[in-house]
């Protein structure tokens, strides 16, 4: 079926099977390979993208639901002014090893910062990132990174400003 939707702010038009997963459309049809496939079953969060302003597992979104929607992938997120500070916090806390899970965590982090009222408790961060798995680092370093970000007013303000441009 023919589908028109927005990806990272740009209109795209493709012709795909209605059952094709958003994840495959991004990687195969649009050559946006920053979004990763881990489990393909909604469990690992490696494929997380923003879909109409909410984070979802792109492995569980069929093409037929895309017309008229707006999708943001990590390629779009990298253009956010707040992104370098988020990436830096992850790196400084040693929360990135092989990096495979990183795009998913980055998407979840910006979504979490928008979703929640501040300040975030460690429990809330843990719950909020529960849909993202990492096989390398152990979660405490990731939680440390996000905890730091959630206490930095300058980053938070920037994230909120970036969100307004996105949706």
């Amino acid at each position: 079926m023919e589908i028109e939707f927005k990806v990272n702010g740009e209109n795209v038009k493709i012709d795909v099977s209605p059952k094709k997963r958003l994840l495959d459309i991004l990687r195969e049809d649009l050559n946006l390979t920053g979004t990763k496939e881990g489990c393909g079953k909604g469990e690992c969060g490696a494929c997380t993208v923003l879909f109409n302003g909410e984070r979802v597992n792109s492995c569980l979104v069929p093409a037929l639901q895309l017309p008229g929607s707006s999708v943001v992938t990590v390629e779009g997120l990298r253009r956010w002014k707040s992104y370098p500070a988020i990436e830096r916090a992850y790196v400084e806390h040693g929360a990135v090893q092989c990096g495979f899970c990183m795009t998913g965590f980055a998407m979840s982090t910006v979504a979490l910062l928008k979703e929640q009222t501040f300040p975030l408790s460690r429990e809330e961060i843990k719950w909020g990132l529960g849909g993202n798995l990492c096989r390398c680092t152990g979660y405490s370093k990731i939680l440390d990174a996000v905890e730091e970000i959630s206490h930095r007013d300058d980053i938070l303000e920037q994230v909120h400003e970036d969100w307004q441009h996105e949706i």
């Binding site: 079926m1 023919e2 099977s17 209605p18 059952k19 997963r21 079953k41 909604g42 469990e43 969060g45 997380t48 879909f51 909410e54 984070r55 979802v56 597992n57 492995c59 569980l60 979104v61 069929p62 037929l64 639901q65 017309p67 979840s108 979504a111 979490l112 979703e115 719950w127 909020g128 529960g130 849909g131 993202n132």
Partner: protein
């Protein structure tokens, strides 16, 4: 209505409103596959592969966007994502048991897509919202409308057993009305699963109760996952109703529910284990109530 006929003969419909949805449901002879959050559908490979006529329920506002708070309860579109319920201030205040349950489903990414309608229609005895909707005595509104009216059914009239519902002939869940329990009601939901974050629950229990002058005025208990159909533990309830809540009563209730549930045996868990855990959960719930 937009219809697309790709080469491989899959048909897609994205009805723009209830009238279009009803016309489609009534006039399509073949069985259609309704798609809400797709969080069950896309992981059920065989079912998904064989689906020929796909109807996107998220295109229909009455199903995907309805969230109407009334004086006595809330009307929720069957395809509304669970996160909207979790974040809604009035639902948080009046239906904490539902909010807590939704928070335990999958992950935020799943909650941003998954719906109550999908949880019910998927008809897994492990569906976490089912025991909770049962103790809340939710009313399901079923389409297509006849003479302009949805049919109103209770959960046990719709969910008949594992993978089985009464939704034949392209009938669909349109909306769910949930009456508010009294503000001072006691509530409890707990699931004991295999994995914390993403467990499909193995044993769960929902309890809703109200005391009056130190006696249990009303109590509703519903185990999840253990029985093929979602049914309340009525014998155990009647053992408690009208009685003062004492330690002795709690032990009796625990023994009663262990007799009352007839667990499904599958590879994940043995009969005896499920029975015992159900009893333990009820005991925990009632002790919490006793102490608060």
């Amino acid at each position: 209505m937009k219809s697309n006929q790709p080469l491989n003969s899959e048909k897609v419909f994205r009805p723009a409103n209830l009238d279009e949805l009803d016309a489609l449901a009534a006039q399509t002879a073949e069985g259609v596959t309704y798609v809400a959050g797709a969080t069950d559908l896309l992981v059920q490979e065989e079912r998904w592969k064989s689906a020929r006529i796909l109807v996107d329920l998220t295109a229909v506002k009455a199903l995907h966007a309805t969230l109407e708070v009334r004086e006595n309860g809330v009307l929720i579109g069957a395809a509304v994502p669970l996160s909207r319920l979790i974040r809604h201030p009035l639902i948080r205040e009046r239906l904490p048991i539902l909010v807590e349950t939704c928070r335990q489903i999958g992950s935020v990414q799943i909650q941003n897509r998954a719906s109550l309608g999908g949880n019910i229609a998927n008809a897994s005895p492990a569906g976490d919202t089912l025991p909770v909707l049962s103790v809340l005595e939710a009313e399901l509104r079923i389409g297509p409308r006849q003479n302009g009216e949805f049919e109103k059914l209770s959960l046990d009239q719709v969910m008949l057993g594992p993978g089985q519902t009464s939704l034949n002939g392209n009938r669909y869940i349109a909306q769910i009305f949930i009456p508010f329990p009294p503000r001072d009601a006691f509530w409890y939901f707990r699931k004991v699963g295999q994995r914390q974050a993403l467990a499909i629950s193995k044993v769960s229990l929902a309890v809703l109760g109200k005391k009056k002058e130190e006696k249990i005025e009303e109590i509703r208990i519903c185990p999840g996952s253990v029985t093929p159909q979602i049914v309340r533990a009525q014998k155990t309830e009647s053992l408690l109703r009208g009685q003062p809540l004492t330690e002795e009563r709690i032990e009796k209730a625990r023994a009663a529910i262990e007799c009352e549930v007839s667990p499904i045996t599958d590879i994940r868990s043995t009969t005896e284990y499920r029975r015992r855990i159900t009893g333990e959960l009820l005991r925990e719930a009632l002790y919490l109530w006793l102490r608060n």
